[in-house]
């Protein structure tokens, strides 16, 4: 078992007396942000340092994995040090080290995982390999109480998922994208509309300013499906641009942005509300980097209001990739004494459901 990928080792350490005041040092390096945080009791963020590489990658029109990995190595100990300093906590006070084990860019994940393992060895504390998406979902626990069963809508540059949490720490994926993630679709459309990388937020803004809308198709898929598909919509935007140009006219980027946003928002929020009703969710959790998107956020809030369903959404700083959310999710395992072995493997693909706590 110890040698298996991400091999979970159950060690029922005597952690009960520190249950509430536990200090977790969390590390996140799954993509182009190097982040470290100190989180107390899975709820209280003492520090959350995020070093973004976006300026570096902008020149390449997207994240270059090799460069992301190089930057992580250069800044990893600086960021960890800053997280402790800002939290006013010494190395020796840390109870456990949490780290994103996946999913993400493998070379980027490796840096964080190796650093976290070295730290666990050096400080002689437990290691908690943590699922990135569980982190996004549990970022909500940093802002409020989660009521179960809860339904999470995860929207980011790499993910679009509907996740049911029947109880604390248990994840069931009921819908996911079959092609592009929402954030990916936004960035691709942004490129077609001549916005610089990353262009998603520009499309959101333009859609709000536009007075006209070019109606674009909605990909509902099968009647009972909670899955998503955005590549057809992206193609529809490109086709519309080409068609207009062929006629010798200038395409209206505003009307296209609004049409694109309407289609995405319509499909994503409708499916989320239908799933919440079907599974009897008592709360809706919106999370992931694209949760900052006004279109999605406003419509979902309105629909939840109509349905009398409480909705939680973290502030922007906890929606984009950050280590505090990893600390929040790792607390699930900390309280149950479910730790990882020092042979923990970083993995580009790792199952969220399998990461559920052991009941």
């Amino acid at each position: 078992m110890a040698g298996s990928a991400g091999g979970e080792v159950i060690m029922m350490a005597n952690v009960s007396e520190k249950k509430d005041g536990s200090l977790l040092l969390a590390i996140e390096t799954s993509c182009d942000e190097t982040s470290a945080a100190v989180v107390r009791g899975g709820r209280e963020v003492l520090s959350n340092i995020v070093s973004s590489q976006i300026e570096t990658h902008r020149r390449f029109g997207g994240v270059v994995p090799e460069i992301a990995s190089r930057k992580h190595v250069e800044s990893i100990t600086v960021i960890i040090q800053e997280a402790l300093t800002e939290a006013g906590v010494s190395r020796q006070a840390i109870d456990a080290v949490a780290v994103t084990q996946g999913p993400g860019l493998i070379g980027a994940l490796l840096v964080g995982v190796v650093a976290a393992k070295a730290l666990a060895l050096a400080l002689d504390v437990p290691l908690i390999g943590t699922h990135h998406i569980a982190g996004h979902i549990y970022a909500n626990r940093l802002v409020g109480d989660i009521v179960y069963p809860a339904l999470a809508l995860v929207v980011s540059g790499g993910h679009t998922e509907l996740v049911l949490l029947p109880e604390e720490g248990v994840f069931k994926i009921i819908g996911r994208t079959r092609d592009d993630a929402v954030g990916e679709a936004y960035d691709k459309v942004a490129r077609a509309l001549s916005f610089p990388y990353p262009g998603g937020p520009h499309v959101d803004k333009l859609a709000h300013q536009a007075e006209e809308e070019i109606v674009l198709p909605r990909a509902w898929l099968e009647d009972d499906s909670y899955d998503f598909s955005f590549s057809g919509l992206k193609s529809a935007v490109l086709a519309e641009i080409n068609r207009t140009k062929m006629k010798g006219l200038e395409p209206s980027f505003g009307a296209l942005a609004r049409g694109f946003q309407s289609s995405v928002v319509d499909v994503v929020t409708t499916k989320a509300m239908r799933a919440a009703a079907e599974f009897g969710a008592r709360q809706l959790l919106l999370c992931g980097g694209v949760a900052a998107n006004r279109g999605i956020r406003e419509r979902l809030a309105a629909l939840c209001g109509e349905a009398g369903l409480p909705m939680l959404v973290p502030p922007m700083s906890l929606c984009s990739d950050n280590a505090a959310m990893i600390g929040a999710a790792a607390d699930l395992k900390w309280r149950r004494g479910q730790f990882s072995s020092l042979d923990l493997a970083a993995s580009a693909q790792v199952s969220l459901e399998a990461w559920s706590v052991t009941l």
């Binding site: 270059v64 090799e66 250069e74 100990t77 995982v113 070295a118 060895l121 970083a346």
Partner: protein
Amino acid sequence: MTLTDNRTAGENPLMLCFDTSTAVLAASVCRGAEVLASRHSHAERNHAVRIVSDLKALLKEAGVGEVDAIAVGQGPGSYTGVRIGVSAAKTLAWAWDKPLVGLSSLETLAMAAGPYLRGEKQAAEADPFAARLTGQPVWIVPIMDARRGQVYGARFETADGSVWRRLDEDAIRLIGDWGSALAASAAEAGAQLAFVGEIGPHAAALAALEGAVALPLTIDAGEMGELAAERLAQGLVDDVHRFAPNYTQLTEAETKLGDGARTEGQA
């Protein structure tokens, strides 16, 4: 960046040494040049999984709780491999607040030829090293495959395998051109030319070189102790936070972007 550090770790510092730049996960615990324990596992692609638990087991085997310094292979070599070792070393050095010594992985590889030169180990390919008895200098050229006919390489000169002098910096080079140039200058200088390391992928190119020998060797972490102790004695340690691998080249994306990418990469 190298700093001078006044935490001189004593006459015979206790050091945890490791290198993950090649297919071998090499680690040792040394007291000065003396090797207290070492392990070499050949599980390629598994370095990130095994590194920390291997180090833990090694410390236990050596009966050591805390070390005076950390020494790590800084590359060149596999990008991912070097990052694994460097990330582990930086974090350990920071967490334990101990000096960090970065060593050239190519220099460590070259040192693996030492025992053959000193006559402590024998191999048919190493027979020409007997030339050392005539006072002929030996050029040890450690190489690692860098694909597309390229190698990461350097050049060291030694007379008897105990005193070494670096002649060429670590760099990525085309083995065809560089090999012929080295063979020509070795002939001129009257030096015995010996390629060591990852010979396999370049066997044909090396066999074509007149007067050169090729000895397939892998990194021996036991050789790192002496190299690291020398640097520590001189107070030459690295800045933990700024320590980074020596890749010897830009990424492909940066090369394509041209010079504009170079300066900003330092930011």
